[in-house]
Symmetry: C2
Subunit: 193 residues, 2 copies
Amino acid sequence: MECGLSPIIGFRFSLYPMADNFVEVIKGALSETDTSNVWMHTDDVSTVIRGKQIHVFNVAKAIALSAAKTGKHLALSGTFSAGCPGDTTGDVYLDKSDEIANRDATKQYVSSQFALYPMNNPMYMDIIYKEVDRAKQQGVFNDSMHYASGIHGDIHEVFAFYEEAFSNARSDDHKHLVMTVSMSINSPSHGGR
Amino acid sequence: MECGLSPIIGFRFSLYPMADNFVEVIKGALSETDTSNVWMHTDDVSTVIRGKQIHVFNVAKAIALSAAKTGKHLALSGTFSAGCPGDTTGDVYLDKSDEIANRDATKQYVSSQFALYPMNNPMYMDIIYKEVDRAKQQGVFNDSMHYASGIHGDIHEVFAFYEEAFSNARSDDHKHLVMTVSMSINSPSHGGR
């Protein structure tokens, strides 16, 4: 095991369209997204993408945004991981440039919840509180709650916050970081936003 | 903050029916489940239940099993938490007896993935590997994968494995434990099981 030696970022997620034509929505979003900068594998429960951080977040956002355009209520739920000691060095696309492949800037309201889990780090609660404070400063904080924090706003601002949080919350001394994100789009519970 | 002093277990989850009548499926599952042994709150993204471990797992399983009976493809995705230093002591139902409220034993195939995150514990990878080995011994292990492990079988065996894993992976010295579970039911990808 090569503990955290590589800059591999992974996101294991599922896209859940609350619609009878869920297969069509999922396949449409995947086909409309340029995933060439990440390694990707889908099984019967979830999909995992791996590569440079910039591409993993770009592809995740593009899939959600593409699916959102169907107008269907959907959720994107998953876990971002970096530096896992049990991680393998294969299945990565680290030779890609830093130029992102998906540039759709369409606005889309999302309501989401996240939790940070900095592993094997005695100061982990401080790291979590710091990122929650930053969300409040950036205007994307929605609500406090048990086990998570609510983050909402335009999908581009929300993903920018998450990518920065994921960078801030890990360090050379504490490479193993996990962040869960659950995102709701086009929900009848969002009060018409 | 009273760090891990109480036996509060929480599960923040979402039920995702991949169906146009998702509201009906969710409300039906919640109304058919006896949730009187847990504190419960729903917001625009997820639902959280809190209480004694036995009741939290019992209610989570009952909601999934009830929704499964609609025959619709659905997912249950969420995070079990215990001993979080930032947790509050309110919103719990710890005065309940240990008698479970939901006893439906109907068989239901589920395919799921889980990850354990024992917080602030230098030996956390050993704990994770031990529970994955136990899944293999108990016949519920499905597959290895990046960032998670596949667990499948009858819903009752799968939930029994998860509840035991959640007990095994925390201790008096390391009270803060997080476990993510993503579960797929009635999926066209399950090959007719």
